[in-house]
């Protein structure tokens, strides 16, 4: 119980810090001023997100003390990073990436901690492999981590209503995939957007209120990345609807094999 409270507390702190950072142009209007900020905004946000990642990873790695879980997650991450290369091979709309499929299912089946690790580390490993390490990486890592983490909430809902194995479980999972398809794009754009719009009386208006800035962001989002995100959402729906049943079956089989514990014999 104590451990659980600690985890929830850590999650809340990280969520608050991460979102305060990402949403700072909405909340603190000065974040947008080119005179005080220059081009440092994306880098400062990345730094703050790296610190958030430090906190949550430090806590999450306490669930990795078992060799079996470590090997299991490592291999799953390798498979998922490999799926990223199959992007062109798997039939689907442009901009669609199968990478979220296993992240969502891992979070759904193994709980929030492993889901977070799966999401964050998949993007880290595939960035290492493809040579995509950059200031955008921390943002991608933490958002993908949140994808996996929030899938655990879905599982809780399914458990409460005893929907397991029913068609509604698949519908919920697909809907969840669609939701994150859009939200991932929206969060990743936040990292970048005050920088693009910074300037005199532009994108972000310093004098403008919260709601007006939100309106402007929505317009910007609709104009730049909606099509991209929509195809990702559609792709997620298709892949989750088609593949999650058999994959969940496999995962549940391996869960039994991976979750046994060695216990020291008490010497009397």
């Amino acid at each position: 119980m104590k451990r659980r409270i600690k985890r929830i507390l850590i999650d809340l702190i990280v969520l608050a810090l991460g979102f305060l950072g990402l949403l700072s142009p909405f909340i603190f209007p000065q974040a947008n001023s080119a005179a005080t900020q220059g081009a440092t905004f994306p880098i400062m946000i990345s730094l703050i997100i790296v610190l958030c990642l430090f906190i949550v990873l430090f806590e999450a790695q306490t669930s990795l003390i078992d060799n079996k879980i470590m090997a299991f997650l490592g291999v799953l991450i390798a498979i998922n990073a490999g799926l990223r290369f199959l992007e062109n091979a798997i039939p689907g709309p442009a901009g669609f990436s199968p990478v979220f499929f296993l992240i969502i299912l891992t979070g759904y089946f193994f709980g929030s901690r492993l889901g977070f690790l799966m999401g964050a580390m998949t993007l880290f490993v595939s960035a290492l492999i493809t040579g995509g390490v950059g200031p955008w990486l921390p943002g991608q890592m933490i958002t993908a981590g949140w994808v996996g983490q929030s899938a655990a909430l879905l599982k809780a809902t399914v458990d409460i209503f005893k929907w397991e194995g029913r068609p509604i479980e698949l519908i919920l999972l697909s809907g969840f995939g669609a939701f994150w398809g859009f939200l991932f794009g929206a969060i990743m754009n936040l990292w970048f957007w005050p920088f693009l719009g910074a300037g005199q009386g532009q994108g972000f208006l310093q004098s403008a209120g919260f709601s007006q800035n939100v309106q402007r962001y929505t317009a910007y989002y609709l104009a730049t990345s909606l099509i991209w995100d929509a195809s990702r959402a559609v792709g997620n729906v298709i892949i989750l609807a088609a593949l999650s049943r058999p994959v969940l079956k496999i995962l549940s089989r391996f869960k039994l094999r991976f979750s046994f514990q060695h216990r020291e014999q008490s010497t009397t």
């Binding site: 440092t40 430090f58 079996k68 880290f124 104009a223």
Partner: protein, 338 residues
């Protein structure tokens, strides 16, 4: 230069310069230097397409940034043409100033992108993995496992796919991927079980860190301190307070990570060799960085700031600024020595 530390110093120095200037000419000089350096490094790796791909990508990025900015921002005196006011958000004047502003933003983003691209080119994957702090050793172990398994999993996926194609799998619908994904998952997870058993048999065991709670408090406190310093900086608080907060936060995080990393002993299978060029590079970059920061904080540097508002003018050029902007090519000269 081959060591990760020297390259990281180079990255930080160049990044500090790029982020503190908005003068398009300096940034263009930096971009040009980075392109030359990157082309040289890519050619060494027999990647002859690098220059073509990246030039195309950068031009697209700068172009997009220019167009987006001009559509969303309408202030400025030099009006090129006017879109009907009735159009939501994009309606209004298209001005020369907003085009220039967008282009400068695009230049800064391109320079940052190229910096990291070159870092990826010059460092090997195992060097990047080593940069993970030792406090995160279970994570680093997991990353290493994933990186080790990646090639064999790729190969296996290819084999299963070929076997399926021979059996007449059309590979058109999503369902056709089930017979590929499932065997791939099953065989790879079987491998994972074997791996974990051999890890246990060889005595690999992650020790439970006793001070996790204290370290967590330290990390949270440090992150909070840096975050609040940044917010206060936005509101132009006195520099003394900011300085104390930044240093305090940084120190707490550093000490926490060092302390919890120290409890873990590790052996090094592969040790980086510091050569002449690494040492020269590292020393040179540190001196440059220190000089730059001290000049910057005493306001001795010529103004690096440039804005197309309120009057569009040609950006000022000074020798010192140019001198700082050619720094990014420095590893190229060292590479002849390697």
């Amino acid at each position: 230069m081959k060591t990760a530390v020297a390259w990281m110093l180079w990255l930080i120095t160049c990044m500090v310069f790029i982020l503190s200037t908005r003068n398009p000419i300096y940034i263009m000089v930096v971009l040009l230097n980075l392109l030359i350096l990157g082309n040289h490094l890519a050619k060494k790796k027999r990647n002859n397409e690098w220059l073509k791909h990246n030039t195309f990508f950068l031009l697209t990025m700068i172009g997009l940034s220019t167009i987006i900015n001009s559509l969303f921002a309408h202030s400025g005196r030099n009006i090129l043409f006017t879109l009907p006011k009735g159009w939501p958000l994009i309606g209004g004047n298209i001005t020369l100033e907003s085009l220039v502003y967008g282009a400068i933003n695009g230049l800064v983003i391109s320079a940052l992108y190229l910096l990291f691209n070159i870092l990826n080119l010059s460092l090997q994957i195992k060097q990047l993995t080593r940069l993970i702090p030792r406090a995160f050793h279970p994570i680093a172990m997991m990353v290493t496992i994933a990186l080790t398994f990646f090639p064999s999993i790729q190969q296996r996926a290819q084999e299963i796919k070929e076997a399926q194609i021979i059996r007449g799998n059309p590979m058109k619908k999503m369902q056709d991927w089930i017979p590929i994904l499932i065997p791939l998952l099953v065989t790879s997870l079987e491998n994972a079980i074997q791996l974990s058993e051999s890890m246990t048999a060889r005595g690999y065991h992650v020790q439970v860190n006793k001070n996790t709670n204290l370290s967590l408090v330290g990390l949270v406190f440090g992150a909070f301190s840096i975050f609040s310093a940044w917010i206060l900086q936005l509101y132009n608080y006195p520099e003394g307070i900011l300085f104390v907060l930044y240093i305090l936060g940084g120190l707490i995080i550093l000490l926490t990570l060092l302390h919890s990393g120290k409890q873990r002993t590790s052996t090094q299978y592969y040790k980086e060799q510091w050569g002449f060029s690494d040492l020269t590079g590292a020393v040179f970059m540190s001196v440059y960085l220190l000089a730059y920061i001290s000049l910057l904080s005493y306001n001795k540097l010529p103004s690096l700031f440039y804005s197309p508002y309120p009057n569009l003018s040609f950006p000022p050029l000074q020798l010192l600024g140019l001198l700082f902007s050619v720094l990014s090519i420095f590893p190229l000269f060292l590479s002849f020595n390697d």
